[in-house]
Each structure stands twice: as C-alpha cells, then as structure tokens.
Symmetry: C2
Subunit: 432 residues, 2 copies
C-alpha cells in the first residue's frame, strides 16, 4: 500500500533538513544576538482564537479539526494569537519589555504555489510593552542583522518603512473618515501587487469621490519624508508621526544599517491590526512578495482579553527566503553537510571490525562525532566512504595497529598523518 505525502507539504530528507536547519539556526542566532528569548505554543489552538482577529471566514483557510470532546480546534496559521494568549496569561508576572522570538511550524489550507506552501516555518520576533520607536528599530535591526549574516547586502534587499499613524493623519487631513481607513489601507496595500487599472478600479470603488481620490493620490506620491513635512500644513498628530519616523531612521543609521532602509509611503500592510510603524523587506531585484513584514500593533493584547499594552514585531517565512538565498548563490545544494563527523574509522582487515566498534563507542562517549562502515570491505572502498562522509579526520586501524597497536590518524583537509596509541589518543580527546 503506497500512500503519498499530503499536497503542499514537504519531506525533509537529510539534505533538505540541513537547509531548514541552516535557515532556522540563523534566525535563532540573530534573535539571541539581539537579546530575544525563545518561546513556543501548541501546534493547535481553539478555532475561535483565529476568528477574533480575522472573522469567521478565516476558518476556510485553516486546517480545522474537532477533538473527542467536540471542541473546534485549528492548526496554527500564524503565531500572533498564541503570543497574545500567552502574554495575557502572565501579563502581571512578566517583566517588560518582553522580547520574545519563536520559529513556529504553521499551516494554511491554501493552494500551494512557488514560495507559498500549506506548511511552512516562520520566524517571529516581538517586543511587548515598549512604547518608544526604539523597539521598532530593534525589530528591524534584528531582521536585517539576520539577512546580513546570511550574506544579503544592501544591494540585494531593502526595508521599506512607513507609519500607519502618519498615514491616518494625512488621510484624515484630506477628508477621509476614521471608519474608511481600514478599507483604504487594504486597497493601498495591493498597489504594488496588482496592475494599475485594477488598483484604480478598487480605489474608485472604495472612494467614489474623485476629488478625495486625487488628494489621496497626492499624499501617496510623497517620495521623501521631508516632502511630507514641507508639502502641507501638518496636523499636530501627523507632525508627531513624521517626527517619530525620522527618529526611527536616525536610530537605524546609528545602528549601522541605514543603507538597508528607506522610507516608502506605499508600505501600508494589509492586516487591520497595525497602528504605528509598518515595514516590509523586499528583494531589490524583483519584488513579487515581501520577504518579511511587520510593525507596531497596540490593540492585539486587549483584543484577546488582556490589558492595552503596546507591541511591535515581525514575521519572516522560510519559503520566499530560501528562494532568494538560492537565487543569490548564498545557498547551494550540497553545500550543507547532513552530518559533521569528527572521525570516520576504517579497518584494513575484517578481523579488526570489532575493534572499530569499540573505538567508535569510546570516541562518542568522549563527546566526539564518529562513524564507521558496517560492512567493512577493502581499505580503498572504506577510505572512499570516509571521504564521502565528510569527516574531518580518518582513523585507520591497519598494519600499524596489528603490528604495534598504533592508530593512524589522517587529517582529511591537510592530508597529514599522525600515529597514536589507543589510550593516548582517547586521553587526548578527554583533555580537549
């Protein structure tokens, strides 16, 4: 009975697992460099958790299930509701700011396509309880620090930054009502992703008044942050939001990543819950889809029954990132070893097979990685296996061992050989 894998999921054979570990380990290392602590939640939550933010229709995009007690559950499609639930549960015990990261496995019941699978991994970092734009700078810095460490330069990627708070003020100043904003954001978020005519049609539907549309277009045509402060008499609120953005860019410059970041009023983010700074990271070449997105959200904890505590964060998926790293030659099949052996043992004579087992075990018990051939076979064949294993060193139980109980230790990189007695060799491992 042959059963295939479920469509839109991935099998991680050792070479693919090495790629996943390479990405995930990079995320974790960057998070820890910036002082974030790791957390995780269950793979499923009560279905209604996901309906709080996104309405009942979200259920269609989820893998939902019913347990034996009749509870409606769903495999997590995103981490933020779990984060909000967990933080709310311990809000009075957790010292702030809370700087947390996670690398959850997430599932979405959507049609699989390039860079978008039904099961994926997403790096999440969030800072909760820090109002200052410094927290937004830290989130952006941490994302860039990772991408930089993966080999992506400012020529490869760009962080486009804007502010919902600023945009809201500017749009309200040209006559939009507060309750129109969410709809306009959703349309503006589509601008770079759909043809111009389709965008115009959507905008017209959302804003039937041509005069208002003209003013909105003018607002959205601002290229530099300074254009905005000069172009119009700003409301107090808009001025404060522009100043906050300026301070953010100042901080990012001080942090040494100014060449990676730029103001872009067109970055709005589709989700309703952002309330301040928003950003997206794109491949500078082509930008079919953001590599990463995030921003400030002030109401999420309270939406989940907690107090009103401000927060800012971001998410980065593994699929689009892997495609980009491959395109840039920063990730090549076969570059990543599936295991990094310290030693591979070979025997000149099958009678020494048991000695190899004994030595391998002793090496492992001393904390080193070691393997050997089960089948034995001639020395040349075993040396070839040793080479393929990628081990740093090969230990030969050969003539020298049969004659003088001496192990021959060969460094596979330099080709240099040394000899050592059994006990002396093991002692050298314990000492290191």
């Amino acid at each position: 009975m042959k059963i295939p894998a479920v469509k839109g999921t991935r099998d991680f054979y050792p070479p693919q697992m090495a790629v996943r570990n390479f990405i995930v380990d990079g995320w974790k290392a960057a998070s820890l460099r910036s002082g974030f602590e790791e957390y995780d939640g269950p793979i499923f939550e009560h279905l209604k958790m996901y309906q709080v933010k996104s309405g009942d229709e979200i259920a269609e995009q989820l893998f939902s299930l019913t347990d034996r007690g009749g509870r409606n559950l769903a495999i997590r499609p995103e981490m933020t509701p779990t984060l909000a639930r967990m933080v709310n549960q311990q809000i009075h015990a957790l010292p702030r700011p809370i700087k947390w990261f996670s690398v959850p496995r997430l599932c979405r019941a959507e049609r699989p396509q390039k860079g978008r699978l039904r099961e994926f991994f997403q790096w999440n970092i969030d800072i909760i309880g820090a109002e200052d734009v410094l927290a937004d700078a830290e989130v952006i810095f941490c994302a860039v620090d990772y991408l930089k460490s993966a080999g992506l330069t400012a020529k490869d990627i760009v962080v486009k930054i804007s502010s919902r708070k600023m945009l809201a003020s500017l749009l309200e100043a040209v006559g939009l009502e507060d309750n129109q904003l969410a709809g306009v954001y959703a349309v503006l978020d589509k601008k770079a992703k759909i043809p111009d005519e389709a965008f115009e049609a959507m905008l017209q539907e959302t804003l039937p008044d041509a005069a208002i549309r003209g003013k909105v277009r003018k607002v959205m045509s601002a290229v530099r942050l300074d254009d905005l402060s000069q172009a119009a008499a700003l409301t107090e609120q808009a001025k404060a939001a522009v100043d906050e953005l300026k301070r953010l860019f100042d901080l990012l410059e001080k942090m040494g990543i100014s060449e990676y970041v730029q103001f872009d009023i067109g970055v709005v983010r589709g989700l309703a819950y952002y309330t301040g700074v928003v950003f997206e990271i794109y491949d500078r070449g082509r930008s079919p889809r953001a590599l990463c997105g995030g921003g400030r959200y002030d109401n999420l904890l309270s939406d989940f029954g907690g107090p009103k505590v401000t927060a800012t964060g971001m998410g980065m998926g593994d699929c689009v990132l892997e495609i980009l790293l491959r395109e840039k030659g920063l990730l090549r099949d076969g570059d990543l070893p599936t295991r990094k052996l310290d030693y591979y043992l070979v025997t000149a004579d099958s009678s020494l097979g048991q000695k190899a087992v004994e030595l391998a075990a002793a090496i492992r018990l001393r904390g080193r990685r070691c393997d050997f051939s089960y089948k034995g076979g001639n020395l040349g064949k075993q040396l070839k296996q040793a080479d393929q294993s990628g081990a740093a060193k090969v230990i030969i139980l050969g003539e020298e061992y049969s004659r003088d109980q001496m192990l021959v230790i060969k460094d596979m990189k330099s080709g240099q050989q040394a000899q050592a007695g059994w006990e002396a060799f093991l002692t050298s491992l314990s000492g290191a």
Copy 2:
C-alpha cells in the same frame, strides 16, 4: 475575549522552552555523535497512513481533519509511518545503511495524565538496511549515550533487552501456533503494568489450555540468557536467536555500556510489528512507564508498499524523560538560562542612551549577544538588570566614557574590570 490553551497541550514560556531545548539539543547531539542524519516530515499525513499498521480504530486516538479537497488527514501520532513512506520513496537512491534521526512533535487524542500529554516531542532513531545485530547495538548505544550525557548513571536506569525471534521460537517449541503469537505478545507486554490477577485472567482468556499456560510461564521465568540455552533442547531457530542476543550483549560490553544493560525475557513490546531484538529503558527505582522503547522491525517498509528491507530503531518521549531528570536533580527550574548574553550595556547618564544603542548594534553585527535597558534609569538599577540578565560581561558607559571615551568592561564572574576605547574594543571582537 479570553480563550484558554487546548487541554493537554503545553505553552513553552522562555523557561519551559529552555528545558525543551535542553532535552532536544541533547538528543540531537547524541544522534550526531553516533553518525545519524536528521530528517523530518509534515505535521500531518493522509489518515490511512496510520490505519495501515494499527487498523481503523486508531482514528479515535488521532487528531484527524479534512482538508478543502475532502481528503482525510491526521496530525502525526508517531513518526515511523512517515519514515517508512519517505524511505520507500527514495529507496533506490539512498545509500545503506540509512542512519536517520528526528525529533518530531506528535499529537495523540488521549486523556492527558502525568507523563502523557496530547502533544509531545519524541526522539526517533532508526537504522535501515543493516541486518547485523550491530545495528541494534548502535541504536541502544546511542540512547544510552544520550542518557549518560544527561547525567543518568547505571544506578538510575536499565536497558532491558530480549528478542521476539527467540521468544517466538521458544513459544512455538512449547506448542503455540504462529497465529497465536501476536495475541500472546500483547498479554505478556502487560505483565509488569497490571496486577497479577488481571494478568492471569488475560492469559487464561488468550490461552485456555492450562498445560500450555504452564509451559509459557516456564519459558517466561528464564532469568539469564544461559538458562535458556541450558534448560531445553533448543530448535535451530531459537539457538540462532539466543546466539544473536549473546552477540548483542558482547557488542554492548565492547561499547562500554554493559552495566546499563540486562537480559529480560519479559520485555516483549506491545506493537505487532517487531520481529527481532526488542528493548525498553526503565528508571531502576520505580518503573511506571518505559522511558524509551524500540527494536527490530523487518516488515514495515513492505507494509507501506516498499521492498522488504530490515530496520531497527527506537523512540523516546520528552514527558517521562523530563520527570525522571527532575526527580534525579539533573534538571532544575532556573538552572537553564533563557538567553546567554555576552554583554549587557548600562549607562551612567541618559544622554548616553543613544551611544548604548549604537554600541549594542555594533556588538551584535560582530556576532555577539548583547542587550541593554530601554528605560535607562539610574546606574544601580541598570547594574541589577545586568546581573539578572545573566550576561557574561557588563559594559559601562559612564564617567570614563564622558571624560575619556573609555568603556568599562566588567567580567560578572570574576568581578574584574578593564577599560578599552570604542574602536579597540570592537576590533577585539572582530578578531576573535
């Protein structure tokens, strides 16, 4: 709207995540020491994957779901079917023996109890395509190597080993039919777990013939492997199986772990699919539940539509292990840091806050872990935060910096202080 976590799942706040990482990292390290490669599969598979081995009734113990295409899926309750599927898919491309490990998240829809949750992590190691008992020895060695590295001694735990092949021969020799074996195994597996009378009742139901029961009891009373070879005229098959077991114990002795292992004819394993060596690891003190179990299975790949290739492996869950490690004092709350900072920055004066941001970013971009206080506040308070952060070193931007641009670097362990200029300090990081 306050929504709780799903019953029987765990939230991994940073302290709990540190425990999980401690366990999982230990598993991974032991696997790599013994030359295993990591793999993983999707979190869900087609439901029928789990019915192949365990029948339709297994569906009740699973979290099953239906996707939009109407496919019946289930969250994985174990890893072996995924392993069999993946190996079968590439059976002709994979060099043998295949030595793989994985640390899957698994879910079972059972009633949560101590040491048994509805969501847990399980270390799996398997060797496929190696017939020799050396492969079984490697699996047992790797499990013991991990437990030893976690601090468990031969006084704490014991690996109880037997052989299905041997037991089958012995039971057939006293008159049992081949088709009775699976039923008898299931009963014998219960012996240590249920009261004597309950066991007797079950045995009587499975084997109504009192004479046969007496003979089975006699077989099961063997304490030493040598008892078996001496007690009865063994069939050729039984003799071969006893010899194989003896060779296994020989190998384990050569591998240096003989004090951890013992023969125990009572170890049978409940699952139908074992065909050779079987083993379970117990807490020597009380053994409410095996810490780990495994053995040889020859038919699994072919059950899943592949060729008949022999395999051996084991699984170890995180819940029972964590309880044991805590009982033995090998894992204490608060022992594991949630983040290991290299540096924590404090400022004597709020005017230096921006400098701290700049320095933190520079330190992080040079690959070190660094954090600082967002709020600033007085030096004493910040130094206390630095201490609580567990950072190895504290860098003070104080008077010395205001006056001479000198950073004061304090080693938190030794208490020793040193001074360095900004550039000289950063250069020292790049060099390391």
